[in-house]
């Protein structure tokens, strides 16, 4: 399941809703991305996440389908926020649930790597010297390439 929203999410409530009554689940892995207060030597006062409505949902849906093809998952949730977020605020939630832990761990890492390189989001940081667009990290591309079959 995919959600793109302005509002914050409650991690515990999301996991409870996703897995309620699903007693075939033996392991749940959660990734929560949050806003840092620094980028290198620069202090970050806040960041604004812009996205491409429509394409975001389409790409996240394709990433979800790919994860479900690769691993036997009982449940999967991606929630990605947009708008202005301050340090400490949650940006993204990825939850994977499976009968056994290995599939849940691997699928969660796969999903995070791919949404960093495929989901059409852009971050504008507010620094001491003014606003600045975050540049894509080559390390993110390398991380995603691990999963190319």
């Amino acid at each position: 399941m995919i959600r793109v929203q302005r509002d914050d999410f409650d991690v515990g409530a999301e996991i409870a809703r996703l897995t309620k009554g699903r007693h075939e689940i033996g392991g749940i892995v959660t990734f929560v991305g949050v806003v840092r207060d620094a980028a290198g030597a620069d202090r970050i006062g806040a960041m604004t996440l812009e996205h491409y409505p429509g394409m975001t949902e389409k790409q996240l849906g394709e990433i979800e389908a790919d994860a479900r093809r690769r691993w036997k998952l009982e449940a999967l949730l991606i929630v990605h926020r947009y708008g202005r977020l301050e340090p400490g605020e949650r940006i993204v939630l990825v939850v994977t649930a499976a009968a056994h832990r290995q599939a849940a761990f691997e699928a969660c890492e796969f999903l995070v790597d791919w949404l960093k390189t495929k989901a059409p989001f852009w971050k504008l940081e507010e620094t001491d010297t003014g606003p600045r667009w975050v540049e894509a990290q080559s390390g993110d591309d390398e991380a995603a390439k691990r999963w190319v079959e």
């Binding site: 491409y52 790409q59 940006i91 993204v92 960093k116 989901a119 989001f121 667009w133």
Partner: protein, 83 residues
């Protein structure tokens, strides 16, 4: 053809969205980018380094040689930084 611009490409070009009639002969993403660059200094500046421009046609990532046609939704944006 509907054109969408995001992040610093939107800021440099000065608009988020426009509908354009592209001339006949503009049949690929590569043609379209060359045509856009010739539309004015803002476009030329925003699109001067093609290595930092990503293109989606109808909400799927495509390479430079991908076909475009009237009615397509074509989005131009920098490499993504989500997650």
């Amino acid at each position: 053809m509907k054109l969408l611009y995001f992040a610093w490409l939107r800021a440099k070009i000065g608009t988020a969205e426009e509908t354009v009639d592209v001339p006949a002969g503009i049949t690929t993403v590569g043609h379209l980018l060359e045509w856009l660059k010739a539309r004015g200094p803002r476009f030329a500046d925003a699109l001067q380094d093609a290595s930092v421009v990503r293109v989606a046609v109808n909400q799927d990532y495509v390479p430079w040689d991908h076909p475009v046609q009237p009615g397509d939704e074509v989005a131009l944006f920098p490499p993504v930084t989500g997650g």
